[in-house]
Amino acid sequence: MLMRPTPQPAGPLYVCDAGHPRRLERALEDLATGFRRWRLAAALAGLDIRNRYRGSVLGPFWLSLSTAIMVVALGILYSALFKLPLADYLPFLAVSLIIWNLISQIVTDACTSLTSSEGIIRQLPLPYTVHALRCVFRNAVVAAHSLPLILLVFLACGHLPGPGAVLALPGLALMAVNAFAVALFLGMLCARFRDIAPIVGSVMQLAFFVSPVIWKPELLAEKQVWLPLNPFYTVMETVRGPLLDSGAPLLIWASAIGFTLLTCAAAFAFFVRFRGRIAFWV
């Protein structure tokens, strides 16, 4: 028995004209079909995680364990350095570090979103959106293994956030949107220029120290007004604010959404212009 997967009388038409490239149309089509085929991206992301921890006893729970160790160790050290009571400082540090790790992992992973799928890209015509989505799903699995730790720390320290904590969900959604845009943008950029990935690595390291991750923003005193210009801080604060205090100020949200729109616009423009070149870059 031979199967005809989609019986179409005329069959789909594939036209590619270098003189009349229809770039915008094809990029939109790529995004639409890519999102429609999210199940493929999810399956590939699942395989990525499974293969990464193949044969290990704890599997992806190593992520949870190593994060937990880091939070507790740094919590004890810095609460002593900053002379803050551990029960006050630990919830702050747990939320900060876990969200920061997530952001930093997404950005680093985004650099290889396309080059790691080289084998598929050069053999099978698939929407490139699938590869970016794969990267997002992969990091969502990682997030699912570290975010619950926040709850544990909160319970242990007796810090109970109010009902405003649900506002962290839109914050996480904003991070997912950013993750997709960054995966597409950095994925393409790093496929073309192989020096970008190490640069991104250094930038993320620097960003860790200049963003209020282990230190509280209040320590900056009057220089705090500059903080909304730090995209890492504002995006992080949309999740951290609702969990620690009653929510993030409007200015933070405006800045985070602004930066998100900026990344999306840059990614989209780049994608429209250079989509056809990706197969030659990877």
């Binding site: 085929r37 598929i120 099978l124 015509p125 070149r277």
Partner: protein, 246 residues
């Protein structure tokens, strides 16, 4: 109606990770044939140059030529992997590719998981994926090995699984590279029958091969590529004879 139409098709591979300067020295030493620098001073390989041809319904086309003549690149371009830098390409009809047997295969997954993955790659639903797993399992004759990671398969078993997965479809335009001629004898007999049916069901076949016997048996038309250009295009006998004569 299924058809393929190419007008002035060109594909160039940029060589980004080669120093243009050192390459230039090397190029001056030997006469450059297909390496050149484009307008923005990038070094590029002209893989396909100014190809124009039309393939209509019912045609069985063999792509012949030396290694590196551009056969596989042309197949991938027809499949939609590479976008041409110049010219126009039109392919009407559902496309099936048998280019790389291992494409999209996960070595750590079992045979069955790989089949389901392939179904997702093709955009099939769960039920269609299940049906495909049944059919592939039966045809490949892997039996209990279907639930063992592909990593542990012998080369022959891998070919059988790839072949079964790749051929469980009935595309209108079939693009095929010659890898499928590998495999053990008993399996090849069955494979041959399946391929022949696939080929005869497809409206258009484009086959890249070095095996002239296959070309004579299956194809009605041959296109000879040399250094990315079409040097001969016509009935199989004429094209093959010309090469033998020249």
């Amino acid at each position: 109606m299924p058809h393929i139409l190419a007008e002035g098709l060109a594909i160039e591979f940029p060589l980004y990770h080669v120093g243009a300067r050192s390459l230039k020295k090397r190029l001056l030493a030997k006469t450059p044939l297909r390496l050149r620098q484009d307008e923005s001073n990038r070094v590029v390989v002209s893989a396909l140059r100014d190809l124009s041809f039309g393939i209509g319904r019912g045609e069985r086309v063999a792509l012949v030529g030396h290694n590196g003549a551009g056969k596989t690149t042309l197949l991938r371009t027809l499949a939609g992997v590479y976008e041409p830098v110049a010219g126009r390409l039109e392919v009407q009809g559902s496309i099936g590719t048998l280019i790389d047997p291992a494409a999209g295969m996960d070595q750590d997954s079992t045979g069955r998981e790989n089949i389901m993955l392939r179904a997702l790659f093709r955009g099939l639903s769960d039920a269609e994926g299940q049906a495909m797993a049944e059919e592939v399992g039966r045809f490949s004759g892997l039996g209990e090995f279907l639930d063992v990671p592909v990593r542990t398969y012998s080369a022959g078993m891998q070919v059988r699984l790839s072949f079964a997965m790749a051929t469980v479809m009935a595309p209108e335009v079939l693009l095929m590279d010659e890898w499928f001629l590998a495999g053990d004898a008993e399996f090849m007999a069955r494979a041959q029958e399946r391929l022949e049916r696939l080929v005869s069901d497809a409206d258009i076949l484009v086959l890249a091969t070095h095996n002239m016997e296959v070309v004579r048996d299956w194809c009605t038309r041959a296109i000879r590529l040399d250094a990315g250009r079409i040097v001969a295009d016509g009935p199989v006998a004429a094209v093959l004879e010309e090469a033998a004569g020249g």
